[in-house]
Symmetry: C2
Subunit: 444 residues, 2 copies
């Protein structure tokens, strides 16, 4: 064991699951995703056996580019002292975002920024494991002052200053003990997208919607935007299946221009949709504001593709959204998501995170639970997306009970995949893909 | 020769120039760039010896990630019929932007989007070579209808419809013959950033500013934003060197928050800056609008890091900018830049492209010359950035005369680098870097 334990390796893996073969995850923009993870493991010489795990989520092709981006950050991480790093993940976050040459490839967006998120999240996973706490508890136990020190306020101060953030966090602590007891008892509410994929038949949709009710969910979501007649038929089937009291969200996955978004959404209004999600480009702050005005009282939601805190800031400033859908793996990691949670709290907009994919449910539950315990103080109108895919590949998968995420008890960020899953689904040399390739070649 | 000529190869190169050693290109955010190109060559079996060249510009580290992203597009390009591809580059543009799996890595931003731009630009280079025309002339000779067919209007129609674009292009043709004669006689006005890098001494700044005057430039630009006292001293030296009649632009390279941008810019107002460039994050549409109000009558300019047409649309809708600085290699290539030129024309905002770097001057001159001949119809308040770096590596480098870009006569997009430059500066195995590595190892 070394005198000062350091990061000794950043090992990366290109992991892909063949989800496209079942049309799981199919929507108006993504007909055939292969849910994938550009995955990394931070190893140390601390001798305690702890590792930091993190990943970017992608949907197949290009996962290798995402891995290359994580590799490009390796030089900033190797050799860092573990205790200092875990005591102040913001310092690495600043280093990575501030690398003047890599910054050109964003700045703070797309492949390079998601890579930063993966590395930063792996540090938080390691930090929480070292504390012996699930991440939600590490964050909720931290002082407001330390949490503020973890946020990069660059480009935010016209909407949120450090003093304002501190005040929000100080106020947010009140009543935390009661809320934690409640969280441990009933969990955090979720909603399910499992019935709603475009590739499913009406019969499968109806069956899964009824199953969602039986499972205790009070909100489901349907993908829309490919064909209006189909959407009307599918929304009718879903509403019939769940009755009038269940919230039915719809999700267009960026399919529309502004005017089209308004017309199409209104054409589905008779089915009482709770929100319209990703009606247009995630970059279009002003477009979302126009859509929100045009479709009210149907709510507007977006965020899974919103690239960073600066765009979220503007979505809030412009009154573009009713629901903020942060994603644990799209932006620059926990540090930037703290900024986004604080912005949402400042503007009084509820956060309903995007999840699904590979491991996104596992990660994001920690952020919502922290938000509940130490910032928003409420689960009213707040739900975490839930999709019942691929959880079996994780060491500490999410647990649902009566439509609620159970609070994870295991130390860390729930990011760690099983070694056998990593080995089997590594692309293109893992067991599954090697066999698949052999089969494909056999057919020619 | 094949019956139908096809694309047979997409060869990629990681090319890096050691510019950081001279502090060329140093600014408040980029202290030590190594100007680099993630470069590609499209090869065909047409037997005519023509190739399509294109590249993404980066500033060093991460150029390998950018190359990986171009490689990820290869499968969409190999095998395409050359004549069809060159007759309708928009079809490939749509295919690349629409790849549902790669789209997750953006969408339409950062590494993946710049890679699309590099490939699409290489197609335009090949198309213009096959026509035997410089790209500016190929575009200016095209019909308005065909140009409109080359634009992706997704997410734009709330600001610009195909009919409106057509009308702008039909109106823009009027007087083209006279303008072309003038363009060939005097060229297109440029301005120079060469005096203004942060790393230069006041003496060097003064000498280069006076040289710029002697060279016929009527606008120069200074980097600012690292230290206000330094900026005041440097702006004073520059204004003294050039006198009151030369335009002096300043460029903060995204250094500031909104309030800071206003205060700092106003503190330099006594030196009569023409525009403040990149005062804050390129993602901050609303921030730029606030800054523009706060610093008027000093103009606000941005664009070199603006990720796509959707953000440009909003910068124009919100009245955030006085000057639109498109970049030839940041967005999805010529097709998206046609959309951006049309948006600028629709809102009456002059386009003053970003250039410098590696080959950006070579590329972007074609877009401004097309804009002059067939769209804006004017060079008033319009200048292309010029930096006297690295032109010697190109087969058809830009030619400046009395502060003007001469119209290129060679067929193509002026994107083609000399084979010996590619070989020498390929990283890490090219002659320069191999020798450099040997030297470095020798010192240990």
């Amino acid at each position: 064991m070394a005198a000062v334990a350091r990061i000794t390796a950043v090992d990366t893996y290109d992991i892909r699951f063949p989800t496209s073969r079942e049309l799981d995850g199919s929507d108006a923009m993504n007909p055939d995703p292969d849910y994938s993870a550009a995955y990394l493991v931070l190893r140390t010489d601390a001798g305690d056996g702890l590792e930091g795990h993190g990943f970017s989520f992608t949907i197949g092709r290009g996962n290798d580019v995402q891995v290359a981006a994580i590799n490009a950050l390796r030089q900033h991480v190797i050799g860092l002292p573990v205790a200092e790093l875990c005591a102040d993940p913001a310092s690495l976050n600043r280093t990575l975002v501030g690398d003047s040459q890599l910054r050109w490839l964003g700045p703070e967006k797309g492949v390079m920024h998601m890579a930063i998120g993966a590395v930063v999240n792996a540090v938080w996973d390691l930090a929480a494991k070292r504390e012996g706490k699930p991440l939600w508890r590490l964050l909720a136990d931290a002082t407001p002052e330390w949490l503020v020190s973890q946020v990069d306020f660059r480009y935010l101060t016209d909407a949120l200053t450090p003093d304002q953030a501190l005040e929000l966090l100080q106020r947010g602590r009140s009543g935390r003990v009661e809320r934690e007891a409640r969280l441990l008892r009933v969990g955090y509410p979720g909603y399910t997208t499992s019935p709603g994929w475009l590739g499913y038949s009406d019969e499968k949709l109806t069956r899964l919607a009824q199953q969602a009710l039986a499972d205790g969910f009070t909100q489901i979501k349907l993908k829309v935007g490919a064909d209006l007649a189909d959407d009307i038929r599918r929304c009718r089937a879903a509403r019939t299946a769940v009755g009038p009291d269940i919230r039915l969200a719809i999700d267009a996955n960026q399919r529309w221009n502004v005017a089209e978004a308004i017309t199409w959404t209104k054409a589905l209004a008779e089915f009482d949709p709770y929100w319209i999600e990703e009606p247009t480009s995630p970059d279009d702050v002003l477009g979302h504001a126009a859509i929100r005005t045009g479709v009210a009282p149907i709510k507007v939601a977006t965020g899974e593709h919103v690239q960073n805190r600066i765009v979220f800031k503007q979505l809030l400033q412009a009154g573009s959204i009713d629901v903020l859908q942060l994603d644990a793996a799209r932006v620059g990691g926990v540090n930037e998501n703290l900024a986004i949670l604080l912005l949402a709290a400042r503007f009084g907009v509820p956060v309903c995170p995007h999840a699904g994919g590979v491991g996104l449910c596992e990660l994001v539950q920690h952020l919502s639970m922290f938000d509940y315990l130490a910032l928003s103080g409420s689960t009213e109108d707040r739900v975490i997306e839930y999709v019942d895919h691929l959880h079996e590949h994780f060491l500490a998968p999410v647990t649902m009970e009566r439509g609620h995420y159970r609070a994870p008890r295991e130390p860390g960020f729930s990011a760690q995949m099983l070694p056998e899953s990593i080995a089997r689904f590594s692309y293109p040399d893992g067991g599954f893909w090697a066999a698949d390739l052999a089969r494909t070649e056999g057919t020619h």
